[in-house]
Symmetry: C2
Subunit: 245 residues, 2 copies
DNA sequence: AGGCAAGAGTTGTATATACAAGTTGCGATC
DNA sequence: GATCGCAACTTGTATATACAACTCTTGCCT
């Protein structure tokens, strides 16, 4: 499920040189060795290290840049992209981004942060097998004192990379999810629902208010790392996804 | 609003050669001269035509391919992409694609097809100014005899490219929207609503059923060409958007 | 000490070339 | 007439090179 640096099919073709370099870079990012904003080897360094021409090294860097994994700056160098600079999670992030961009007062209140026993639905979404430890948190977002969105996060601790797990006790899942390595994938599912009584109470809405519910599953190579469920009442928020090409 | 072949800012820098070639290709696609699946000039032809090296011509084709505008096939050539091969409109298309892909019975019923006077909301969405002619159609989608989605399309006839308008009397707006040139952009807005009485009747649902409503605006260089409103009852359908990177 | 200039390092654009690999159509052969 | 194989064409990979444009540091000069 993680980015595959190679474009080739399952044939045992000798992989192209530039895909080997892409793989090399991806591995170092995935392991946490090269965190966000870290400088990756320059074209000339890769040229020497892999004994290829500059154009071949360049192609590896170029393609990873187009995939949003790297960021290049003429004269400065090539760097690991920040979560923020990736457009693929745009749709969901827009919810909170638009709020803050509009100059509206945006507050978030952390409600829960604990290890829990999950429901069947979450177990399926997280693809749990052996009672792995799941961390749960709730974040309630406000705009001008109105509760506009409830964010429920379920994190499969066993799949959080080691280098992040070491200080997991002091960072919240929310922080983890915004500091996740750029190689993470996500799938989204959007649904219109009537919120449960409990959620209605937290968002202070009538039980008949239609709500937009987005389920985002974040994947690493090992499987589903986390599930985030965002619930927003329809009369208070719209999810705008601007897909341009 | 249309694809801009150049990456440069507003500075009056001399544009790079490969952007000139990209522009050239985009213009021919936009004008309708090169329709979908049409063969575009090969790398060698562009090399001669623009007096550049093959690598420069290649770069233009390559980048347009990455933008989903062209499709390349080793040995065969480079072709204008089909609407289908563009992933940017994925989210909405999934609604109907998933239905047919699952092997379920999927029927669509054309309800209306006429020129209308639009409401204020649609006029704003279409950015109408001088009482332009708007074409309207309703399509009701069925799955196993259940109405699962209402599709309302508003097309600003004055912005439909000439080469399509000539036979517009015999193609429906639905057909137009699936044969639109690959350079079209779209923006989406997703909302959870309670459907109007009229829509409830057509979809055969209770007035309290939450519905997913997607408004898709299709842009050309001249402005908003069409607005499509898809309404799906929440208990009958989910919109899954799988955004991978 | 502050500012400017030079230079090293990095990415961006462009060329010329070579061979590999896949597609297509034409022609020779059976 | 049908089929096979080759030739022409096209895209894919890779190299070597050159210069332009931009960033950042270092060191010199005022």
């Amino acid at each position: 499920m993680t980015i595959n640096a190679s474009n080739s099919s399952t044939k045992k073709d000798k992989p192209a040189k530039y895909t080997i370099i892409k793989q090399y870079i991806c591995e170092h990012i995935e392991s946490g060795e090269w965190p966000q904003n870290a400088k990756v080897p320059s074209e000339n360094e890769l040229t020497q290290q892999f004994d290829v021409s500059r154009m071949t090294a360049r192609r590896a860097l170029q393609e990873l840049t187009e995939q949003g994994i790297l960021v290049r700056s003429q004269g400065a160098g090539t760097f690991v992209a920040t979560f923020k600079s990736q457009s693929s999670l745009l749709e969901i992030r827009n919810i909170s981004d638009e709020i803050s961009d509009r100059g509206h007062q945006h507050k978030a209140k952390q409600l829960v942060l604990r290890s829990i026993a999950v429901t069947d639905e979450i177990a399926i979404l997280l693809n749990l097998k052996n009672n792995e430890d799941v961390f749960y948190s709730e974040i309630l977002h406000y705009e001008n004192d109105d509760a506009i969105q409830l964010e429920q996060r379920f994190v499969n601790i066993s799949l959080v990379p080691d280098y992040l797990l070491q200080n997991f006790t002091i960072i919240t899942p929310h922080e983890y999810l915004s500091s996740v390595a750029p190689l993470t994938e996500a799938t989204h599912e959007i649904e219109a629902i009537l919120a449960s009584d409990e959620i209605c109470q937290q968002l202070d809405i009538q039980p008949t208010t239609p709500c937009l519910q987005v389920k985002r599953r974040t994947w690493s190579k090992q499987g589903v790392v986390s599930v985030a469920i965002l619930t927003s009442p329809g009369d208070k928020y719209r999810l705008g996804s601007h897909l341009k090409f």
